[in-house]
């Protein structure tokens, strides 16, 4: 037995010495600074583009490298918070600008301008700088776009001026064809976009905006909120003009029904053309503004995403160099074209490909659009509002009761 013990110990010692010698005596390679970039997989963005951007940057820079890690939108927030909690954040990441306050509260992000060249910063359209907080640009805008309405002109040519007209036309299409009137995602997704369209169309918002610009009590249960949800419910459960099983389908699962030519209207973002190209859609489309309810003006939802530089990351200087590279028209304009968002850079916005009817509609929608509330904890409030919407859609609660309960829960969580 003693012999076995001695042999085991000897083997362990020999292996340990061999490993130590290998790691200490091997020729040391100079490690290049590596920039890890969490790259949100936008609809329309291709893997070829991601790979070509990464390869082009790495080929042009011997002294640094970038690793562009594709992350689906649905998992991006969780992946980032896990990385931050583990003390290993990426150098840069695309974020929903609405997450920024949360990251600032964690003291996890830095002002981006200190790592960027002046020419890159000067080329950003001032209107896109939603992430400028107390005079500091904490996130470089990467995508900013208002939502519009796309119409399948094989099914309808009517541009509705009000929500009521939209409903009438959706009913007509549903009754006279085998297509749906309008697409309405009813399953929980990252955001509350579809409710926001109807809420804004009725002149409402998620929270009361106090005179000092801060957020007051939750107002999803306002007259506008109840009107919006009641109308959505009517479209889905009484008129039955939305896609079958809408409550089980999120945006990613329901928009393909429009791309397949089986619905007349969809409220959508700028990626519609590239997504339809990907789906090989054969019908013609027309773009219009999401209408307001009678007596209310059209008010779209504008969504901005930003790129953050994380404080605890190792290679922030290199990250700045990469962003300078990416924000040249050669790459950024191609990115904008693929995801379909209007450019956030001044130079790209003048390019001919961004002068089409789609971009004209997007530009018009942005003029009177509202964004998400920039507040800490909005992810949880979103879940509460989603639950209320689904309670009403399932007819387990009235729109008013469901939204009253949601508003009260949110106010309680916020200590109001």
């Amino acid at each position: 037995m003693k012999k076995v013990l001695i042999i085991v110990i000897a083997v362990v010692v020999v292996v340990a010495i061999a490993l130590i010698l290998f790691f200490t005596l091997r020729p040391k390679e100079v490690e290049k600074p590596k920039v890890t970039f969490y790259w949100a997989t936008y609809d329309g963005l291709t893997e070829e583009f991601r790979a070509s951007l990464q390869d082009a940057f790495n080929a042009a820079h011997d002294d640094m490298e970038v690793d562009i890690v594709p992350v689906p939108w649905r998992g991006l927030h969780d992946k980032l918070t896990t990385a931050l909690a583990g003390g290993k954040p990426p150098e840069i990441s695309v974020i929903g600008t609405r997450w920024l306050l949360e990251f600032m509260e964690m003291d996890a992000v830095e002002e981006v301008t200190q790592y960027l060249s002046k020419s890159t910063v000067d080329n950003i359209a001032p209107g896109a700088m939603e992430a400028k907080i107390k005079g500091k640009l904490m996130g470089l805008p990467v995508a900013a776009g208002a939502r519009i309405m796309a119409m399948n002109t094989d099914l309808t040519t009517k541009v509705p001026k009000t929500m009521e007209e939209l409903r009438e036309e959706a009913i007509r299409v549903r009754n006279s064809t085998d297509a749906y009137g309008i697409i309405m995602p009813g399953k929980k997704y990252t955001e509350l976009t579809d409710f926001a369209y109807y809420l804004f169309a009725a002149g409402g918002y998620f929270f009361k905006i106090e005179p000092d610009g801060s957020y007051g009590k939750c107002t999803v249960n306002s007259e506008a909120g109840v009107k919006a949800l009641t109308f959505m419910n009517k479209l889905a459960n009484e008129d039955k003009v939305v896609q079958e099983g809408y409550i089980a389908l999120d945006r990613v699962e329901s928009h393909p029904i429009f791309y397949a030519g089986k619905a007349a209207y969809v409220m959508i973002g700028a990626w519609v053309e590239s997504a339809m190209e990907g789906a090989k859609s054969t019908f013609k489309t027309k773009y219009a503004q999401i209408p307001g309810f009678a007596g209310h003006e059209s008010t779209s939802l504008i969504i901005t995403d930003s790129i953050c530089i994380f404080k605890d990351a190792k290679n922030k200087e290199a990250a700045g160099k990469f962003l300078d590279f990416f924000y040249k028209d050669e790459w950024k304009a191609k990115f904008d074209e693929l995801v379909g968002f209007p450019p956030v850079t001044i130079s790209a916005s003048k390019l001919p490909q961004f002068q089409s009817p789609l971009y004209k509609a997007l530009g018009e929608a942005a003029l009177n659009a509202k964004g998400w509330p920039l507040m800490d904890g909005f992810a949880e409030y979103t879940e509460i509002i989603w639950d209320a919407l689904q309670e009403a859609h399932l007819r387990r609660m009235s729109s008013k009761d469901a939204l009253d309960e949601a508003a009260s829960k949110i106010d309680k969580l916020r200590g109001m």
Binding site: M1, K2, V4, L5, V8, I9, V12, H77, D78, T81, T82, L84, A85, E102, E105, M106, A108, G186, K187, K188, Q243, E244, G245, Y246, I247, A248, L249, E253, P256, I257, K262, G377, A379, E380, E383, W386, D387, Q390, E391, H393, L394, R396
Partner: protein, 302 residues
Amino acid sequence: MAVGALSLKHKLWNPEARLAYILLLPAVLILIAFMFYPIVYVFLMALFKTDKLGRLKEFAGLANFIEVLSTKEFWKVTGRSLLWTVTGVVTKTIFGMIIAVLLNVEYRGKKIARMLFIIPWASAVPISAMIWQWVYHSEFGLLNHTLKITGIWSNPPVWLGLPIPAFAACMWVDIWIGIPFMALVFLAGMQSISEDLYESAYIDGVNWYQKFFYITLPGIRNIIIIATLLSSLWTFNDFNVVYILTRGGPVRSTDILITSVYKSGFEWLKFSRASVMALVTFFILTIISILYAAIYFRQESA
């Protein structure tokens, strides 16, 4: 007394024991680093207020427990998790047993059948869940399309859109993935039962059902205990299926403890709340394991 102490020292520190300690050391170190430290930290987070990165800020005593345990939603989720586990494990055991019996009979193509049965278990769970998500799709899905064109169900439900069908749909995917494991483990147990017993039973004129209940089942009793214990632990913690298919919806009707822990921790960054729920999960699973161990060892010693 001195002899007793000496004998104990000899037992714990003889050459064989020393070799065992050396061989165990790496595993113990890994366990401490990757298992015990996180578990202890979860305990601490449950007792402290934490920031959005899970760092301990202020001692809260039992306040986090009181906050979580006093909500109706928590008890609903816990009850649903138990229902999910019991239904899942019982169904997997019954189907697994039937399939094991069928695979244990001699017939042409038995090997191919065994290979096919393992596919759901061998596939990655997220991929299986994503495939089922499309199967359940109300517009393009295979399930409703098949039900409609065959006339079996002219107006099938929107599987993932209504609370009870969504729970049943998630449940079925978990069962579908788990059956092959049960079937294979039971099959392995059945094959270890001596053929002589069946031959004697045949001579005595017993029927198939007597064979099954008096020879097969008692012969694989311990295997059933181990397999159902493992299945209970896995089913209780089956995050992937629920999260991919419904994310806990509609209206949290498919949320189980493990998905609630994830949402509280990583979506809403409420690590103290998530830790309390994780500890409840830990507590429930520990009780299940102890009960199983007690039954197993009582039978071993009998």
